[in-house]
Amino acid sequence: MADQNTSRRRFLQAAGSAAAATALAGCAGGNGDGESTPTDEPTETGGDGSTPTAEPTERPEPTTREGYLQRANRLIHDEAPWVFLHRQFSVYGQSADIEWEPRTDERVAAYGIEPASDAGEDVVMTQSQMDSGLDPHDHRETPTDNIVLQAYEGVLERDAQGAIVATLATDYQRLDETTVQFTVRDDVSFHSGDSLSPADVAYSINRIVQSDVGIESPQVDQLLGVEGAEVASEDDRTVNVSLTGLNPIVFASFATYCDVMNQSWVESNDNAYINQNMDGTGPFQLSNYEQGVEVAYERFEDYWDEPAAISTFTINNASEASTRVNRLLAGESDIAVNVPPQEVSRVENNDGTSIAAVPSTRVIFNAMRYDVEPFDSPQFRQAVNYAVDLESIIENVLQTFGSPTGQPTLEGFFGYNPDVDPYPRDLERAEQLVEESGYAGAEIELVTPIGRYLKDVEIAQAVAAQVDELPNVSATARQVEFSTLVSQVTTGNIEDKPPWYLLGWGNATFDAIQTIQPLLASDGSLTSYSNDELDRLLDEAQQLPSESN
């Protein structure tokens, strides 16, 4: 793909600051989550064998944003507000008629598909759901992303590995603390034939962040801290974006959200029309839209970059996994999205189809509320982590399509701490920690959604059964509908959440802050945890520019 060459800034910096962040087993001695008793401290050290038994000595403060985020990840690992589970994989079935590498961010861009045989010119993809409308600013979920991104583009995009690449911008830079500037490419036309102008870019940004411009965009929280944009100069095609403060991940956010729309086209059509038609700048243009059934595209010949390698692309849906696989096996479809573990062998044993799997941006975890018994004890939370046999879950429930994690930030993300390992299974230690926590005999219940994440119910049952093996804890799992769980976790009030629940979190910005801030910071919108030291580390991190861009 051409855009890989245009990547000028490596998304992931070689971990230069990693050494500084070999952080600090002792930091968990925590001064302020309000619940720990002073007697916690000795047990925080000499933990899981991966950390050298160290006195809680003070280490020098990190000097970089990455250093702060890595230290935050270490702290979270030690304080264990979650049962850390795994990183979910995206598993696709693929026909031999095409050549294609799946992307880490769960998005399927048809631009990256090349025909491997004559049958590969016209490519069909089956996913589990269709779009929630074609307005690229009016949604935020993967099935719609996949449908929208074939025709719409942002100023920045990501390549298959997650690195930021300039697309509709030819250049991007920080002018000062509260301003970033994009230079808009000047040889781009929309599918309708109109030329892309800097005004279109500014309008698109404002349409997301300012609710009086058209719609209430669900992406507004993804461009948090962006106040608005204006055309700086029509001559040199620059757009200035004003920020409320230094936003370290502003480019990472723009690389994931903010598709550019044609201002005059948007303004002359109503919402229902915009949700059933497209006028983007992308490599494919809409040729047929049947709501809830099928979206068909054809190659856009006037694309500013190399035209796409395939001539048509069609997306349809089948909510049943076996139906998606059957379509693939019968040659009706070239890509089947979300092949569950039990269907993998059918795809692999069939001539002309294979499995393509890639680690996704989604972490699956069991949150434990820090403010209720017995989870208010860090020892108890660690004990639950020690009691879970992650490897067995990944091997047996997920058929190896998942990788274990010991921190909320995934490998390859900015702020990932390479020195933190997943908790190993250690029943003896778990039992002992439960005794120390003073909650021996606790009865706990894990609440899991049904069918929202790959094998969620099975995973929750395995976790509960493994924790239940402890002689001094009894654990069970309870299933609820996903929307029921959502209505409990999104009220903004920690008391409304179940004490122990399974959730998944996708983070397409590839930056630690977009997971830790909403889920674990004291003022996070979904938080079930609070710790002053963690809040301080995040604040420090957010006051430094990101080394990633």
Binding site: Q219, D221, A330, T484, T490, G492
Partner: protein, 330 residues
């Protein structure tokens, strides 16, 4: 009471039923966990964003205001707009209705074509191998789960033998009809239309085939023991004439009633079959709307289905009243 007044009364009752459906669905909002905002807004949306979305969808109004607004709009022919896609609910619902109707009718045809001969054979060869075969088939048909049958049919006839497409709906009845004059070649379009319809129709129709086979069998056995049958036989009428002209005809009266009402059940009950075959019908739409708490779509779908039921019932009643004037007199 005249025939016209009778129909009018039924019509007014029907409107009452539809109004009841609308109201019940509205009350469901109270007792259903999860709010539409949870599915419209991202998980980490701020409370401020949530409130703005609620205001945009009109969900911040008291429920009775929302209810009255909805009824007023509905009377003007406006079902509201999908919370998720902003597309008018009427467009979304009526786009999906033909596929489901088509499937229900096709399944009914499968059921009629198979069940009546099976029932007749079974009744006339009572306690013979053919009877046992037919009864076993109907037992199997009633106890086989729909989704399992569907998946098995797909595996055998689509994936292994490659005779039918695995799923989806290549063309609709309307497109097939249009192909007679239209630019698209007639034969391939009709073939593709029928091919995609066969497996789902068999899957959905099997249960009803089994049900009606039993109905025909027992009905026919009852009739065969009636006095008039002995009389016709005594008159020397050939046995085939006795069976098919007299007995079967009388048996079919309740069968037609059941079929008429089952058509309504098929429309509502096609959900699982639609999922297995990725059939773009109203059933899948309802499931999607329930999961997304997309109330305008859900209400629109249920109103349409409710109207369908009411119309079928009125039609059956009207037919009865026409055939048997005593019904009107009551």
């Amino acid at each position: 009471m005249g025939y016209g007044r009778f129909l009018l009364k039924r019509g007014v009752q029907g409107v009452g039923v539809v109004w009841g459906v609308v109201t019940v669905v509205f009350i469901l909002r109270f007792i259903t966990p999860g709010s539409p905002i949870d599915t419209v807004a991202p998980l980490d949306a701020s409370q401020e964003t949530r409130q703005r979305i609620a205001a945009e969808l009109g969900l911040d109004q008291p429920l009775y205001v929302q209810y009255l607004d909805y009824i007023v709009e509905l009377l003007q022919g406006n079902m509201g707009y999908s919370y998720i896609s902003s597309i008018p609910a009427s467009v979304q619902v009526f786009q999906k209705l033909p596929a489901t109707l088509e499937l229900a009718v096709a399944a009914s045809i499968v059921a009629v074509v198979l069940s009546i001969p099976l029932g007749v054979i079974s009744a006339t060869r009572r306690h013979q191998p053919a009877d046992y075969a037919a009864t076993s088939f109907s037992l199997l048909g009633i106890s086989t789960p729909n989704f399992w049958l569907g998946i098995m049919l797909v595996l055998v006839f689509a994936v292994e033998l490659n005779v039918f497409p695995t799923s989806g709906r290549a063309y609709g009845f309307g497109e097939a009809l249009a192909a007679i004059t239209g630019p698209q070649p007639f034969v391939p379009v009709v073939t593709a239309w029928l091919a995609s319809l066969v497996l789902p129709a068999i899957t959905l129709g099997t249960y009803f085939t089994a049900l009606i086979t039993r109905l025909v069998r027992s009905g026919m056995l009852d009739e065969l023991s009636e006095g008039y049958v002995r009389a016709t036989r005594a008159k020397g009428l050939p046995e085939t004439l006795v069976r098919y002209k007299h007995v079967l005809r009388n048996t079919l009266v309740p069968v037609v009633t059941v079929l008429g009402l089952q058509l309504g059940t098929l429309i509502g009950g096609a959900v699982i079959t639609e999922a297995v075959f990725a059939w773009p019908g109203l059933g899948s739409e309802i499931i999607r709307a329930i999961n997304a708490r997309d109330w305008p779509i859900l209400q629109g779908s249920l109103i349409v289905i409710g109207c369908g039921f009411v119309l079928l019932n009125i039609a059956v009643d009207a037919l009865y009243a026409y055939l048997d004037p005593r019904v009107v007199a009551e």
